[in-house]
Symmetry: D2
């Protein structure tokens, strides 16, 4: 079962057009990623510190299908997928909770594991690889 | 009983100092205000539209007592208090959930009710006044 | 000559990883778009109001090539391109100013012109089409 | 002569009420502080690293006098003042550039110098104290 993160749209997410600013859809996806890792027992901050790695985002893409307004309830589905030994992808679907539930956006990010000190690529630490492969 | 809003600190809340950016404590307080109103059946967006009013913030103040890190669990307590017929104040306490729970910040905002069209002061609509007075 | 927008990285753009949060690269691109329109005499807010249209972003993609730190000076190049009668694309290159200047990110957004009231697709107003076609 | 920072309001600064979100006035003040330090030859990031200190904000307050819209041109005046050997205050005035120029907000922040490692109070490094005292 893919992971679902629940979130309410806030005024701070929106802009003067009255709806969520396009870049903030990606911030909301990242929240869902952080929450998915936390639920799996992986705290990003202490994990990175412990392994001396960082996992920056190398690419992102998003399709914005519906506007989102303050107070809208969201469900964000996160699905990881392995790419290479040192990288993985996350697929996101942002639903506006209904009824009826409506798909509001799709996004995808690619993450590369690198040494914090040298910024050279490193294989994913096993616990992170396990989370990715559990998809 | 004052209202408590629960929230996890996200990477997007923080800055390069590693902790929540000072202005984002206020954004987190505003989220708690939005949630408190929603729980009371008051959706800010439709409420403002229906009453042709807006309730901008005229003043804010905050005391930052502890740094907050990604993954920290927060409890934000919101307490409204009447000021005049057309204004009210909100007191906020941001706790980092424990054990032990620690007070991380205090904040206060003042809100003034004005006509959306003319920006002249107007008495609070009764349903909003009732929420404030239930404090 | 494509338009260049100059911008300094601020603490508020960054996160606890010490560098600009990935979603904020897109916010910086949008700033450059707003500035390019303003320089062309097109104020987004009054333009949208006057024409009763909005031009939401339907898709975005970005490749993040280098981390950006507080204080880094950026040059953001914006290049519009026509897609259809009711849509256009913007290509962005974010350079970290040198010497030597380094490409830090590439991004692309697709924008669709719709009626503000009905959200049905409309041809770009002529002044916006002219800006796009001047590329 | 106090330092002036010039800045245009962007869509990302605003919320669904159509104007700059109250917490973002403080983020704009912090930008002006970063720029004032940079112009004085003090890069916050390398400065903090070099002196093993951080200078977190202990208090903030703001009075919001006028709404600010996308495209508005701002001038932010920053005035430092010494408080104690290990702390200082910054006063900010945000003007909407005219003609006529109008005061849109006043803010004030208090900053405390602490050791990055122990978080114990430390006297301001001389170069920072000099900037504060030049007020």
């Amino acid at each position: 079962m893919p992971f679902s993160h629940f979130r309410t749209v806030r005024f701070a997410d929106t802009d003067a057009a009255g709806v969520v600013f396009f870049a903030n859809y990606l911030a909301i996806c990242h929240e869902a990623y952080e929450e998915a890792l936390a639920v799996a027992g992986l705290d990003l901050k202490s994990f990175f510190a412990a392994h001396a790695v960082v996992v920056p985002i190398a690419r992102s893409e998003a399709a914005y299908l519906r506007p989102l307004h303050p107070g809208d309830k969201l469900r964000v589905v996160v699905t990881p997928a392995a790419l290479t030994a040192d990288s993985f992808a996350l697929s996101f679907e942002i639903f506006r909770v209904g009824p009826p539930e409506k798909l509001a956006a799709r996004a995808r990010t690619e993450h590369v594991c690198i040494a914090a000190a040298t910024r050279q690529r490193l294989p994913l630490p096993p616990v992170l690889a396990a989370w990715v492969n559990a998809g």
